[in-house]
Subunit: 146 residues, 2 copies
DNA sequence: GTACAAATTAAAGTCGACTTGAGGTCAAGC
DNA sequence: GCTTGACCTCAAGTCGACTTTAATTTGTAC
């Protein structure tokens, strides 16, 4: 497939595909003159990458996770990442419950509501700071605002 | 409390506190000369902000969510954000299961494993692109690498 | 054989969330 | 009365993940 086809199939702009190739996340299977040529597999790989990004992993992490070093995958790393996600899921659940409660609660300030405060503390447990995330901004191609 | 006390109590650097104030996320209750003076409440508010960041909301979103416009809170917005989190939670769960499976599965390439591919597709449903997230990098103060 | 849409490169720009740096103010201790 | 350390402001810098731009270079259709 040429880059335009991959772009259409994956929903990613060609510039991103080139960028990913440069980072080593995907590979073109050759060139037709200057033009890259990709195997169909790249589309699934891109899906996996998008998934990882969506789950909050950086491109570098994704690279580590899904590269076969030799023939042996980094199983320990995958398990660690799974555990990370699990923790994150618990935090998000607490946050969601907090929001739902805040929307329903009648206390003028949430800080006066013991239930809310309790959720705050639960969610605050083993918290991990991170740059920025989730936010859906540049959902230009294919995906519409949630 | 002065800024150093808030910094210690919240685990955030003073520079961040100034930045948050500038963005309108927190307020100092006055000045002692040049020096800001904060009420103790700000610490809980900061906890809430950290929580929101951790859940993937941008500072602007957090501002919208937890500002009392008039006396009436944005309940609809809170519900919408809760729903967003709920979706995210489902995606992360699928991803986690995918990782766990990948770590256990014997197929040389995951792309040959139907179970993995199925998880891929499930998680890929109503996906939402986002800038970058989760990653714990600048966890300098208080919080250690996960 | 020529035009042109599409691909290529390298470099620079963007965005959010902070951090860092330079230069200045001020209360307290010596 | 002067140094010091904590705080201040404003501007510029950083980081990850891309995007944009400008200047080419084609493959392909006519």
């Amino acid at each position: 497939m040429d880059i335009a086809e991959v772009a259409k199939a994956s929903g990613l702009p060609a510039s991103t595909l080139r960028f990913y190739e440069e980072k080593g996340l995907i590979q073109s299977i050759g060139r037709n003159g200057l033009r890259r040529f990709f195997s169909g597999d790249v589309v699934e790989r891109l899906a996996l990458i998008s998934l990882g990004r969506n789950a909050g992993f950086s491109l570098d992490e994704i690279g580590e996770m899904f590269t076969v070093d030799g023939a042996e995958i980094n199983r320990a790393l995958l398990l660690a990442k799974a555990a990370e996600l699990d923790k994150k899921i618990k935090e998000l659940s607490a946050m969601r419950d907090g929001l739902l409660h805040a929307a329903a609660c009648r206390a003028a300030s949430h800080f006066e509501c013991p239930k809310f405060l309790r959720l705050l503390r639960i969610a605050g447990k083993n918290q991990v700071r991170q740059p920025n995330k989730l936010k859906d901004k540049k959902l230009k191609r294919g995906v519409k605002k949630a």
